[in-house]
């Protein structure tokens, strides 16, 4: 008899893997983004099953709400049309599949039921009063407060960097471009055309 939890886990993990494959194999970048969003949604469900409510929801808000929107925006903005020929895609595919399969097998051996079976690790068990958000908060604002501040700094720097990289200067003002002026040369601006001389007036 399969209980509800097991059923939910397998359903969502299967969906997770399928949508991961969708990200990799879908033809259009937009659908890749959509599959990725689905991935994150499934993950959120799985993390909620792990009683990691805070991170699950943070994943939902941060990623699906902000990051994936950004991705979608960029994909839409660039609107790149690349003809995807299947042949190119599948050139190394068998080889990579073997490698990936081997890696999964070995990770299965290393991390799978042999090493972390229920007998060894037990089932997930929390008291009724367990509060994931509180547990994280208690540690984060005491023990990890400095890394937290640093993270904030990193985010700020990333924001500034992203703006600095893409900012193209004001588009409205008419300003001098000094380097361009300095680089001006005769060759670029002056064309000498040889032509027959024209006499003024007639004969």
């Amino acid at each position: 008899m399969i209980d509800v939890q097991t059923l939910t886990f397998f359903a969502f993990s299967g969906l997770l893997l399928l949508s991961a494959g969708g990200v990799v194999f879908s033809r259009h970048a937009v659908s890749s983004v959509m599959f990725l969003i689905l991935c994150f949604l499934c993950s959120t469900v799985l993390w909620l099953m792990l009683h990691a409510e805070f991170l699950g929801l943070a994943l939902l808000f941060v990623y699906v709400g902000a990051v994936m929107t950004l991705f979608l925006f960029v994909v839409m903005m660039l609107n790149v049309k690349i003809d995807a020929t299947k042949a190119r895609l599948l050139k190394y595919f068998p080889f990579v599949l073997v490698l990936g399969g081997g890696l999964v097998t070995m990770l299965w051996l290393a991390l799978g039921p042999d090493a972390f079976s229920i007998k060894k690790t037990g089932v997930l068990a929390f008291s009724e009063h367990y509060n994931n958000t509180r547990a994280i908060g208690e540690v984060m604002y005491t023990q990890f407060v400095i890394p937290l501040e640093l993270t904030a700094g990193i985010l700020l720097v990333a924001m500034v960097a992203a703006i600095a990289l893409t900012f193209r200067g004001s588009q409205q003002r008419r300003v001098q471009d000094t380097p361009k002026q300095l680089m001006a040369s005769k060759a670029n601006n002056l064309r000498i055309v040889s032509m027959a001389s024209e006499h003024e007036g007639g004969e």
Partner: protein
């Protein structure tokens, strides 16, 4: 019953799929970035699962930091991508080979 091993194997498979995605992807640079995000997700899942099963909350703190850094990374990555597109009018992975020896 669902044990730790289920989660670990699941995240390992997710990791391998996204890695394969990076390797075989020939079209969109942006899909590569997405695959990177997926790899980070796989690692995060590892962290969360182990943290919850062994009752050690610092694993989840780590996930928090990874999320933050990943967000920063994708922001800058996308900015570079936009710049790249502006310069070269393409983000085709095959045409980006300036490092060719």
């Amino acid at each position: 019953m669902i044990g730790l091993a289920h989660y670990l194997v699941l995240s390992s498979m997710l990791f391998v799929i996204s890695f394969i995605g990076i390797v075989i992807n020939r079209r969109h640079l942006i899909v590569m970035l997405m695959c990177v995000e997926m790899m980070l997700l796989a690692v995060n899942m590892h962290f969360v699962a182990v943290s919850q099963y062994f009752h050690d909350i610092s694993g989840q703190i780590f996930v928090f930091f990874i999320l933050a850094v990943a967000a920063a990374e994708s922001a800058i990555g996308l900015a570079i991508l936009v710049l790249l597109y502006r310069c070269r009018q393409t983000i085709d992975v095959e045409s980006i080979d300036q490092l060719k020896g």
